[in-house]
Amino acid sequence: MRNSRSLLAPVFAVAMTVAGLFAIPGGAAAEDAPKPPGQKWSFDGIFGTPNLASAQRGFQVYSEVCSTCHAMHLLHYRDLTGLGLNEAEVKAIASTFTVPQGLDDQGVPKDGPGTPANQFRSPFPNEKAARAANNGAYPPDLSLIINAREDGADYVYGVLTGYAEAPSGFTMQEGMNYNRVFPGHQIAMPKPLDDGRVTYSDGTPTTVDQMARDVVTFLHWASNPEEAERKAMGVRVILFLILLAGVTYAVKRKVWSDVH
C-alpha cells in the first residue's frame, strides 16, 4: 500500500539496500515461503517434553555435522546435564573440544581442552570469517533457531529434509541449492545430511529423517532448556490456583450470604 511504503520509506530504503548487499541471497525473498508440513514431536502439547535419547543423538549430529559451520554460543557444556547426561559424561564430552582458554602467561590467547564451564566451541571467530569461509553466506547461530522461526521445529526439519532437484525452469544462482521449504527455495547451505552420515552408538538407524528428527529435538531443547521444569511447575501452579480459586469463591459466597 502506498501509505505504508511512504511511511517507512526512509528506513526501508537504506536498510533494504544494505540488506540486499549483505544478506544470504534468497534469504530476503520471503514472498515464497511455503508452510512446512506439520510433524509430530515429543515436546508438543501441554505436557510434552523433548525425548532425551533423541536429543542426545541430536547433539551428536550437531557436533559431527552442523557445528562445522553453525555456532551455538548461548550454550555451555554444563547445560548438557539437561539432556540427562551426568557430570562425568559432560566433563568427558567437553574435553574432546578445543576451545579458547583465556590468555597464557605471555598474554597470548591460548586454546585448550574444554571444561563444563566453557561455551560451546564456535567454528568461526566472527561473522566476517564465517562469511568468508561460506561463499558470503552466514550460517546462523543455532542456540535459538527453533524459537526464531515460524513453526520452528517443523521448519528446521523441513529444511533439513527438503533438498531436491530444482524443478525445470527454476533458475538457480551460482553456488545455491534448491530446497522445498526454505523461503525463496534457494539456500546457500549444501545438503547437510545423507543416510549413514553419523553412527549412533545405540544402534538407531541413521536415515536422513531420523537424524533430522534427532537434531531438531536437540535444537528445540537448546532453544528452551527450561521447558521440562517449566511445564512440570506449571501443572502444580495451575492446580494450586484452581484449588485456591475454589476456596476463594466459597469464602466469597459465605461473605455475601447475608446480602443475597
Binding site: 528506513v11 536498510a15 540488506a19 535459538l144 526464531a148 527450561e226 506449571g234 490456583l241 480459586a245
Partner: protein
C-alpha cells in the same frame, strides 16, 4: 489543625503510629469501611486486576534489571543469560513478558466497562481522564520495554515507531533525534529507553494513586449507573469486595500462568529471537498485539502526517468522551440503541487489531478504513447525536430496589 490525630486503634504501638501518621485510619476508611455500591458485577474486578499486574510487573522488573545489560552488544545475550543461567530467571522473565499482554487485556476490559456503564460521566470526568493518562503511560512503558531485549522486532519496531514523529513538519526530525540520542536507533536509544522503562512505572504508580484518590472522592459507578441513595445501597469494601476481587485475581492468575508455563511465546514474534541487526530488515514489521488496532489506524490513512495524527487522536478522543456523550443516562443497560453501537465499536476495535496484523493490501486496506471510520464516527458523531435522540428505558428507583426487587422501606 496541628496536634495528634485521635486514633481509635486499640493496639498501643499501632495507635502511637496512627496518632502521628494516620495511615491505618486512612486504609480503614478507604479500603475497610469504604461504602461501595452493592451491585457490582465481575467487570468491576478489572481495576484491582490491573493494580495486581502493575505490582507484579514492577517486582519482576526490578529483578530483571539486576541481570540485564542495557548495551547493544550485550543486551540480547544478557536476556538469554537470565533465561538460562539465573535461578528461576526464565520464570521471572516470562511472567514479566506475558505480564505486559495481561496488563493490556485487563486494562482494555476495564476501559470497555467504563464505556459501557458510562463511568466517565459527571462527576467522574477527571477520574476517567486520569485513566486515559494511565493508558498512555502504559503504552509508552510497554513500547520501551519491548525494545530492551534488542531482538530484530525490538530494533525495527523502535525504528518505525520513533520515525513516526518525523511526520510532524518542522520539529519532527528534532524530536526523532532527541528520542534516538543520535541519528539512528543505537546505544544511546537503548540506554535511555532502559532508564525511562524503569522510571515510568513509578510515574504510573503516582497517577494510579491519583486515579484511586479521585475514585474515592466521587465513589464508584455501578452497573445501573445510578448513584447510591443511602447506606442500604452500599456495602463496606471489606470484606465484600476484597472477597469478590480475590476470586477474580485467582482466575486471572490461572490465565496468566497458563501463558507463562505452557505458551510463553504464543503472543511473541519469532523475529525477536534473532539479535537486532541494523543491516537486515525483517520481511514484516509488526508491533505487539496490543498496539495492532492503532497501527491499523495509522496505516489506513494514505498520508503519513494524517495517519500519525489519527493514531494519536484515536487515544486522545477518549479524553473528551465525557463531553461528547450527551445522554443523561450512564449505563448502556438502559440505552437500548446505544448498547448496540458500543458492541459495534468493540467489533471495529477488534477488526482493526486483525487488520494491523496483516500487510496493508487488498481487503485489509478496505476493512481497516471502514473500521477506522466507524471508530471515530462512534465517538464524534453517533455518541453526541444518539444521546439526544435516544429514549432511554426507565431507570430503577434505587440500587437496592433493583437488586432485591423490594421497595426501599422493606430492607
Amino acid at each position: 489543625m496541628a496536634g495528634l490525630h485521635k486514633s481509635d486503634i486499640p493496639n498501643p504501638v499501632l495507635n502511637w503510629i496512627d496518632s502521628r501518621l494516620p495511615i491505618i485510619t486512612m486504609m480503614q476508611k478507604e479500603y475497610g469501611v469504604f461504602p461501595t455500591p452493592r451491585n457490582f458485577n465481575y467487570f468491576w474486578n478489572f481495576g484491582a486486576l490491573a493494580m495486581v499486574t502493575l505490582v507484579v510487573m514492577i517486582l519482576t522488573g526490578i529483578f530483571l534489571a539486576m541481570h540485564y545489560q542495557p548495551n547493544t552488544t550485550l543486551a540480547f545475550d544478557s536476556v538469554q543469560h537470565i533465561m538460562r543461567d539465573v535461578n528461576y530467571g526464565w520464570l521471572i522473565r516470562y511472567v514479566h513478558q506475558n505480564g505486559a499482554s495481561m496488563f493490556f487485556i485487563v486494562t482494555y476490559i476495564h476501559i470497555f466497562r467504563g464505556i459501557y456503564y458510562g463511568s466517565y460521566k459527571a462527576p467522574r470526568e477527571l477520574l476517567w481522564i486520569l485513566g486515559v493518562v494511565i493508558l498512555l503511560l502504559m503504552m509508552a512503558t510497554a513500547f520501551m520495554g519491548y525494545v530492551l531485549p534488542w531482538g530484530q522486532m525490538s530494533y525495527w519496531g523502535a525504528t518505525v515507531i520513533t520515525n513516526l514523529f518525523s511526520a510532524f513538519p518542522g520539529v519532527g526530525k528534532y524530536i526523532v533525534t532527541l528520542l534516538w540520542g543520535g541519528f539512528s536507533v543505537d546505544q544511546p536509544t537503548l540506554n535511555r529507553f532502559f532508564s525511562l522503562h524503569y522510571l515510568l512505572p513509578f510515574v504510573l504508580v503516582g497517577v494510579v494513586f491519583l486515579h484511586v484518590a479521585a475514585l474515592h472522592i466521587v465513589g464508584s459507578n455501578n452497573p445501573l449507573g445510578i448513584e447510591p441513595r443511602g447506606p442500604q445501597d452500599t456495602l463496606p469494601f471489606h470484606p465484600y469486595y476484597t472477597a469478590k476481587d480475590s476470586v477474580g485475581v485467582c482466575v486471572f492468575l490461572i490465565v496468566w500462568g497458563a501463558f507463562v508455563f505452557f505458551a510463553p511465546n504464543f503472543l511473541g514474534d519469532p523475529n525477536n529471537f534473532i539479535e537486532a541487526n541494523p543491516l537486515q530488515t525483517p520481511a514484516d514489521i509488526v508491533p505487539e498485539w496490543y498496539f495492532l488496532p492503532y497501527y491499523a489506524i495509522l496505516r489506513s490513512v494514505p498520508n503519513k502526517l494524517l495517519g500519525v495524527c489519527m493514531m494519536f487522536a484515536s487515544l486522545l478522543v477518549l479524553l473528551i468522551l465525557p463531553w461528547l456523550d450527551t445522554s443523561r443516562v450512564r449505563s448502556a443497560r438502559f440505552r437500548p440503541t446505544y448498547k448496540w453501537f458500543i458492541f459495534l465499536w468493540v467489533v471495529s476495535f477488534i477488526v482493526l487489531g486483525v487488520c494491523g496484523a496483516h500487510k496493508p493490501e487488498g481487503v485489509w486496506v478496505i476493512l481497516s478504513r471502514v473500521a477506522t471510520l466507524y471508530y471515530f464516527a462512534h465517538f464524534l458523531v453517533i455518541t453526541p447525536i444518539l444521546g439526544k435522540l435516544e429514549r432511554p428505558l426507565p431507570l430503577p428507583e434505587s440500587i437496592t430496589q433493583s437488586v432485591t426487587g423490594r421497595p426501599l422501606e422493606s430492607h
